[in-house]
C-alpha cells in the first residue's frame, strides 16, 4: 500500500500490505560492494491463491486461505477467545505476569527499533518495527477488554485495530518475522519485552487455532515426541549414527572409542541436537574424543526424544514445550545420571536449563549444565591439553542469543576458544549484546517457498555483515581460511546457509563450525587435521 503503515492497517482488505525490495536493503560491508541481491522467489499463482501472503508477500506460516466468509469469521472468533485465554491466570500461568507487564507498560518511545537487526536489515520496513507487532496485539487486547467503550474511544486511545480475517492472518505471519532474540527487550528501559509478546502471539495461534509452521510442530515437536527426533531419526537410526561415528573417529584419528549409549548409572547424560548427527557428525565425534580423553563417565540415550535435545516448543507452544521437556527429564531419571550436559544447541540450553528449571520438578529435577562450562573446567583441571598453534587461522565467535542474552553464559566458551585459537577475535558487538544469526526461533529450519530468501536477505543480513567485519584485516586474502565458530546447531545451520548464499567460501574463504571441533583440532595426543581444510575446499 502507499503511504505510511500503522497497526490499524492490518485490517485493510488489500492484496498485500507491504513488500520488500532488495534494492532498498542496506549495503553489505567490504568486499561485498559489488554484491547484487537477487529478487525474492515469486510465488506461483496457485500459492498466491491458496496461501496467506498478504502481509509482505512472504510465506512463512503457510496459512490456508478459507474459501468462505463463515470460516473466516469462525477463525476471528477463535482468535478473540484465544486473547481471553492469553490473559487468564490458569490457561496462561506460564507467562501471564511478564505478558501483562509488557502489554500495559510500553511508553512507545521506539527505542527498541534501533536494536532490532530484522528491522534495520529490512531497510526499516515499518511492519518489522518491533513496536508495530506488539502494539497490534496491545490494541487488540485493549479493544477486547474495554468492550463498547473502548471501541467508541478507539481513536482517542489509539486502540484502533479491528479484529478481522486480514488482521489475524497478517498478525500470525508477522509473529514469524521476529527471531525472538530479545535484543529489543534489552534496550527497553521500562523492561518491556517485544520478543515475549511475539512468542505469546505465536502461542495463541498454535494453542487455540492450531496454526504453527509445520517445521516446528508437525515435523518438529510432534515428530520428536512420536518417533524420537524432529529429524525423523528413530532409535535404530540413532544407533547406526553412533556406529558410524565410532568408525569415522578410528579412520580419521586412529582412536578406538566406544561411544556409550544407555549406560545406566553414568555420571553424565549428554543431550545433543540430533541435527548435528546428520549435518555435522564431526561435532558428536569431537565430544566423544574430548570426553574419553578426559576420562569422564558419560552416556548418550536412545530413548524417544532422549537423543535429540531440541525443544521447538520454546518457539511457539507452551504445551509442546512442556511435553518435550518432560521426555528429556524422564530420560535422565531413567538412566540415573548425576547430571545432564547440554551439547552445542542454544535453544536446547535455554529450554532445559533456564525455562525448564520450572518444568523439571521433584524427582525429575536432575541438574543440568552447559558443555561450555564443562569444557572450560576440563581445561582448567588439565584433563585435556591443547596446542593452539594447530589452529593458526583467524577465528571469530558467534554468540547464540539463547545462551548469552537469555542465560548469561558468556565467558566459559571464550575461555575455551582463547586457549585453542591464537587468532581469535570478537565480533562487534558481542556477548549479551550480540546480533542474532537470523535463524533464531525456528527460522533456521524454515525453508519453504520464499521464506529462505527472506532469512538470507533480511533476518541474516546483519550477522553476515558482522562476520565480514570481524575478519576485515584478512578478508581479501582468498587463500587464508577463516572460521566462524557457532556453538549452536540452529545458528550453525543459518550461518551455513548464509555463507553459501553469499558465496563466502569462494569470495573470502569463510567457513563455520562448532567449538569442540576447534578443541579437538588442537588437542595434544590427537592426530592433527580434525578440521580438514582440503576436504572442506573440495566440498565447497
Amino acid at each position: 500500500m502507499n503511504g505510511p503503515i500503522s497497526p490499524r492497517d492490518l485490517a485493510r482488505p488489500i492484496e498485500q500490505l507491504t513488500e520488500i525490495d532488495p534494492k532498498n536493503l542496506p549495503p553489505l560491508p567490504h568486499p561485498y560492494e559489488d554484491w547484487e541481491d537477487p529478487a525474492f522467489k515469486e510465488l506461483t499463482d496457485e500459492n498466491r491463491e491458496r496461501l496467506e501472503h498478504s502481509l509482505d508477500g512472504i510465506v512463512g506460516l503457510k496459512i490456508a486461505r478459507p474459501d468462505d466468509e463463515a470460516t473466516r469469521a469462525e477463525y476471528v472468533e477463535k482468535f478473540l477467545t484465544g486473547l481471553d485465554k492469553l490473559l487468564d491466570r490458569e490457561s496462561n500461568w506460564t507467562f501471564l505476569q511478564p505478558l501483562s507487564l509488557s502489554l500495559e507498560n510500553c511508553v512507545k518511545c521506539n527505542t527498541c527499533a534501533d536494536a532490532c537487526p530484522v528491522y534495520e536489515s529490512s531497510g526499516r520496513n515499518e511492519v518489522y518495527r518491533p513496536i508495530f507487532r506488539s502494539e497490534s496485539l496491545r490494541r487488540l487486547v485493549n479493544r477486547r477488554r474495554g468492550g463498547k467503550l473502548a471501541s467508541m474511544m478507539s481513536r482517542f486511545t489509539g486502540n484502533d485495530v479491528d479484529a478481522s480475517w486480514e488482521t489475524i492472518a497478517r498478525l500470525a505471519d508477522l509473529s514469524y518475522r521476529c527471531t525472538l532474540c530479545r535484543r529489543c527487550a534489552q534496550s527497553c528501559a521500562m523492561g518491556v519485552d517485544n520478543g515475549l509478546m511475539t512468542r505469546e502471539i505465536r502461542k495463541l495461534f498454535s494453542q487455540e487455532l492450531g496454526w504453527s509452521p509445520d517445521e516446528l510442530h508437525k515435523d518438529g515437536t510432534v515428530k520428536q515426541l512420536v518417533t524420537g527426533s524432529s529429524t525423523g531419526m528413530n532409535p535404530k537410526g540413532f544407533q547406526d549414527i553412533v556406529e558410524f561415528a565410532q568408525e569415522d573417529i578410528e579412520e580419521r584419528l586412529g582412536l578406538s572409542i566406544e561411544i556409550p549409549v544407555d549406560k545406566a548409572g553414568a555420571d553424565i547424560l549428554v543431550l545433543h541436537n540430533a541435527g548435528e548427527f546428520l549435518a555435522w557428525p564431526e561435532n558428536l565425534q569431537a565430544f566423544a574424543v574430548i570426553f574419553e580423553a578426559a576420562g569422564l563417565s558419560w552416556t548418550l540415550s536412545s530413548e524417544i526424544a532422549g537423543y535429540d535435545s531440541v525443544n521447538y516448543g520454546l518457539f511457539y507452544d507452551d504445551v509442546q514445550f512442556a511435553r518435550v521437556g518432560m521426555k528429556h527429564a524422564e530420560t535422565a531419571k531413567k538412566l540415573g545420571v548425576r547430571k545432564v550436559v547440554m551439547g552445542e544447541c542454544g535453544h536446547a540450553h535455554k529450554a532445559a536449563m533456564a525455562i525448564g528449571d520450572r518444568i523439571w520438578l521433584d524427582e525429575l529435577n536432575i541438574p543440568r549444565e552447559s558443555s561450555f562450562t564443562l569444557l572450560a573446567q576440563l581445561l582448567r583441571d588439565g584433563r585435556i591439553e591443547l596446542e593452539p598453534e594447530r589452529n593458526p587461522f583467524p577465528v571469530t565467535l558467534h554468540d547464540p542469543c539463547n545462551i548469552t542474552r537469555s542465560m548469561g553464559i558468556v565467558e566459559p566458551q571464550r575461555e575455551v576458544i582463547r586457549a585453542a585459537c591464537p587468532q581469535f577475535r570478537e565480533m562487534t558487538p558481542h556477548g549479551v549484546e550480540n546480533y542474532c544469526c537470523g535463524g533464531g526461533s525456528g527460522f533456521a529450519i524454515m525453508n519453504s517457498l520464499n521464506f529462505l530468501d527472506w532469512r538470507m536477505l533480511v533476518s541474516g543480513r546483519k550477522k553476515f555483515g558482522q562476520i565480514l567485519e570481524s575478519f576485515a584485516p584478512e578478508i581479501d586474502d582468498k587463500d587464508l581460511p577463516k572460521y566462524v565458530c557457532a556453538p549452536c546447531s540452529n545458528c550453525k545451520g543459518q550461518i551455513r546457509d548464509l555463507l553459501a548464499h553469499y558465496k563466502a567460501w569462494d569470495r573470502s574463504k569463510l567457513h563455520y563450525g562448532g567449538l569442540v571441533e576447534l578443541v579437538v583440532n588442537a588437542m595434544k595426543g590427537v592426530k592433527p587435521g580434525f578440521i580438514d581444510w582440503d576436504e572442506i575446499d573440495m566440498m565447497m
Binding site: Q97, L101, A189, Q207, L209, K218, M353, A354, D357, R405
Partner: protein
Amino acid sequence: MPMPQIVLYAAMAFFVVAVIARAVKYARHPVHMRWELYPVAHEKGRAGYGGSHFEESEHWDSPRQIDHVGEARAMASEILMLEGVRRHNRPLWRFSWPFHVGVYLVIVWLGLLLVAGAVWRGGDAPVAMARAIDLVGFVGLVVGLWGALGLLYRRMADPALRSYNAPVEIVNLLAWIVYLGWALGVHAVEGGFASLTAFTGGLVTLQPVAVSTPVAVEIVLGALLLAYLPLTRMFHFVAKYFLYHDVRWDDAPNPRGGALEQRLTKAMDFGVSWSAPHVAKAASWGEAAQGDGGQEDQR
C-alpha cells in the same frame, strides 16, 4: 471545607488506592516460567559483562553470589539517571531525563511543603526552610516543564513516535505542561510558595486555609493530575519494579523441595482451556505435559 482541600484529599486517597491496587494485581499473578534477560544486576562480579551463575561448572553446588549493592546501584542509576534511555536513546533522554528530574524535585518540594506545614502549622517557616522550598520548587517546575515540552515536541515532530502515539499520549503530556506551567506562573508572580506552605499546614491540621483563586486552581489541577496518573502509562514506577525484579532479573533457581517448587506443582493442577486439537483433551497442565501432541489435524 473549601473545594481545593476536598479535591486534594479525594485525589490523594484515590492515588494511594489505585497504586496499591496495581501493585497487588501484579504481585498476585501466578508463578511463571523463567524469562530473565542478561545482564542481571545482582550477579556478583559478572553483571558488568552479563554473566550468570550458569557459568560455573556444577552451578547447583556452588552458592549463588548475590550482589545487593550492585543491584541497588543499578536501580539508583535507572531511577535517577534513566540509564537505559541514556544509553540506548540519547535524543529522547535529553528531554526525558529533565522531565523525570523535574517530577522528582516536585515530589521533594511537595514533601518539604508538607513538612513545613506540619512543623510550623501555617506559621512562618525558618528562612532556610523557605529558601529550600523556593529552590527545589522553582527548579523542579522549570526543569519538569522544559522536559515535558521537549517530550511533546519529540512525540509530535518525530514521525516514528508520532505514528504510535495516540491523542491520549499527547493529552497526558499536556496535563503535565498545564499543571507545571500554571504552578510556575502563579508562584513566579507570588515570588515564592508562602501561600502553599500555609495551605499544606491546613491540610495537615485539618483546618482549611483560604487561598487565592490562582492557587486554588493550581491545587485542583495538581489533584486531578494526581488522580489521573495511576490510570495512565505515565505512572510506570510500580510496573517497572515488577518488570525488573519479577521478570528481567528473576533468575531464582528451583531447588528440589523448595518453596518455588511447591508453587509450580500447584500450577501444574491449573486447567487447560486451549482448544487446538493437540491440546484440547488435557484437563490440567500436568496432564497436558504427559501427552505426545500427535495425531491432530493441522489447519
